[in-house]
Structure formats: C-alpha cells, structure tokens
C-alpha cells in the first residue's frame, strides 16, 4: 500500500455537513465579525489615534487569510505599556496554581485541561474597558495567557531557547505574535504557557517559574 492510499484511509470518509454544523459555522463567523466591529469601535472611541494606527499597521499587509482583519494586535489596542507581574491573591485552582499574574488579570477558566488568565473587564489591559462588560469568550485567547498540558509526541521536535525554569527544563519559542514556554513536567508531557499579552521574556520565565501543577494530573495525562 503506498503513502497516498494510507493517507486516504487515515483521512476517512467524507461526511456531509449537518444543518447544525452549518448553522454553527455561520454563527461563529457572524460573531467574529461583530467582535471585530466592536474592537474597531473601541479603538476609535476609547484608545484613539495610536491604537488605530497600530491596528491599521497590523491589518494592512495584504489579503491573505492570515492577515484578515480580525487579527488585531494582541495588546497594542488595549494597553499602552508593558504589563507588570503581581502576586496572585485570589483563590487557587485545584490543578494549576500560580504565584504571579499580570496586574489586573484574573483566572477566567480552570479545569483539568487548562488554566486561562484573562484581563478583568475594566482593567487597563482589557479590550472591554467597561467594568460591567462580560469578559471575552473563554475560547478566545487574544490578550490572555493559557496554560495547558500537551503530549510531547504530538508536538514533535521543538525549536527555541533551552532554559531551566524553576525545577523544569524548558524551551521558549522564538518571539512571535504570541510566545509559548514549554516546561518539561514529565518524560511524556509539556506544560505549555501560551502568552498573548505584552510580557517580556524575563516575565514569561518568571510566570512559568511560579506555575505549579498537581502531580496527579501530570501522572494521569502522562499515562
């Protein structure tokens, strides 16, 4: 059997889209357009010329799908300066605990799969400056920090700067729109800290050093 046939078998059959799938895809698209309009309105009304200039600079590079206008800069429109890390004083989640978070951030989601640290509505770093506004959807990772476990097997070979962070060997991705710090928490498992906010390299390392993960969770994932 050649590679093409094996790929065909792995790809599996083509299943027609259900009405529910189509409606959900349409709904997600419409929501994304609304979010984009809201951000543009906020940029014009609240953050002024500098934010608009930053957004235009970001989306002005063509019309390939990776430069569609919903890819606004992660933090430029929301925060005029670099964030500072402060001691986290809220209730600690069961599976992931953190020593520090960026000032004005809170733990938005905590479960067995992930920890999401997001700006509080109304804080300087928030894209929703009104305190009464709902936080951005949990699946949206712009302006947030996500922490999660992932399989080393799936990731394959990682490229980046090799570091020691806390008690773990780690790899820090090269700078990009977001950065990822991968902590080797077991022979089979990375704990990945995905940072889409304005933190320096040293701050990302400090954040990673203050991350503690329930050993039972690591063991369970590594089986």
């Amino acid at each position: 059997m050649d590679l093409h046939d094996r790929l065909e078998r792995l790809g599996g059959p083509i299943t027609p889209a259900s009405d529910e799938d189509i409606a959900a895809d349409l709904g997600r698209g419409q929501s994304a357009v609304r979010r984009r309009r809201n951000i543009q309105t906020l940029a014009g009304g609240v953050f002024g010329v500098a934010a608009i200039a930053a957004a235009l600079a970001f989306v002005g590079g063509g019309h390939a799908p990776d430069s569609v206008p919903d890819r606004v800069p992660a933090i430029a429109e929301a925060s005029p300066g670099k964030l500072t890390l402060v001691k986290y004083r809220g209730p600690q989640p069961k599976n992931f605990t953190v020593d520090k978070v960026p000032n004005g951030f809170f733990i938005q989601v905590s479960d067995e799969a992930q920890l999401i640290i997001a700006p509080k509505p109304g804080s300087a770093a928030s894209p929703t400056p009104l305190p009464s506004a709902r936080p951005v959807e949990t699946e949206e990772m712009t302006n947030k920090i996500g922490i999660y476990l992932e399989s080393k097997e799936y990731r394959g070979e990682l490229e980046g700067e090799k570091l020691t962070v806390g008690k773990y060997q780690a790899i820090l991705d090269p700078p990009s729109v977001s950065r990822q710090l991968h902590l080797s928490v077991s022979p089979h498992t990375w704990a990945t800290v995905q940072v889409a906010v304005d933190l320096s390299k040293d701050q990302i390392i400090e954040l990673g050093a203050g991350l503690h993960i329930n050993q039972e969770l690591i063991d369970r994932y590594g089986k």
Binding site: A17, G29, P65, M141, E153, Y154
Partner: protein, 186 residues
Amino acid sequence: MQPPAVDGGHEGCETKRGPGESERDRQFRNFVAERRGRLLRTARLLTGGDPHLAEDLVQAALTKLYVSWSAFLRADNPDGYVRRALVNALTDERKRIWRRFERSVPDLPDHPGDDTAIMGDPELAHALRQLPPKMRAAVVFRFFHELDVAETAEALGVSTGTVKSQTARALDKLRSILRPTPQGVN
C-alpha cells in the same frame, strides 16, 4: 488515482437567502454545505488523525473565511486561499489553546467512532504526529492532494525550496518510523 480536491466538489446545493440573511450568509452557507466534509478530511490528516483537533481546525478556518469573505471571493486562487486558511489555523497558536493531549494511539477510544481516522491507520497517525505541523502539511498536500511544489508552497506560505527540503525530511522520518512494507513509503 485522481487527486482529491482539498475542498472541491461542487454538488449544486444552492439555496435561497433565508429571512434576515445577507448575501454573504447565503454564499457562506452554500460553501460550508458543499465543502465542509472535504475540509474536515484534510484537517484530519493535517492533525495526524485527531478528529477533535480537526474539527477545531475547520471551525477556525471557516470563521476566518467568513470574516474575509469578500477577499476570498476576489482571490485569484480560491482553493489556495482555503488551503492557506487551514494551514494558518493549524499553526496559529495565538487565538486559543489547542488541547493536544490525546490518548496514545494504541488505546481504544472511549466512545466508538471518536477516533475513526486513527483506527483506520494508527501507525501512520503516530508517524505523522512526529512531524512538525508544516512538515506534516507538506506531506498531506504533496502526497494526498497531489499538489505540485508551487501550490504546496503557496498553501504553506513558504518557498518552493523549503517545500522540497521539508518533504524530503518528512519522508525520511516517516520511513524511519513506519514498518517496512512490500511497497514501503513511496
């Protein structure tokens, strides 16, 4: 064997606009109805046979297409545009967490049907997951969709030279992982 289109297959299911629906909505609805199944199959390969990540990938790509629908309609190469959207969704780590922690391949799925693709060829799924995402995508576009080097380069957003080197390295790695068969990996 005829190469399958990445997202092709117009099956002629044009619909009229529903109440309150824009022209973009109607066109997008038709597009999804016609092409989602094929996109999902490509995404299953791009994710090394992971049905959950594949669904995530397709949702992300379709959302981007909806947002930039007019640009998509104006694109010189709409199929290339869709392929690029899929690859960008595969490599875009910024927007959301990708839960990449999957059961090891030989494990039985918790729910029948969840891992249909992996069950189809667990060895190949395991091997593909050893490749970095863009290298995996190069294999899928070159050896499943049978795109030429230039088309693959466009989809990946890299040079043709990079496609050639990535493809060669990918094949070497796959050969080293997959058990030899009478036909081998060719």
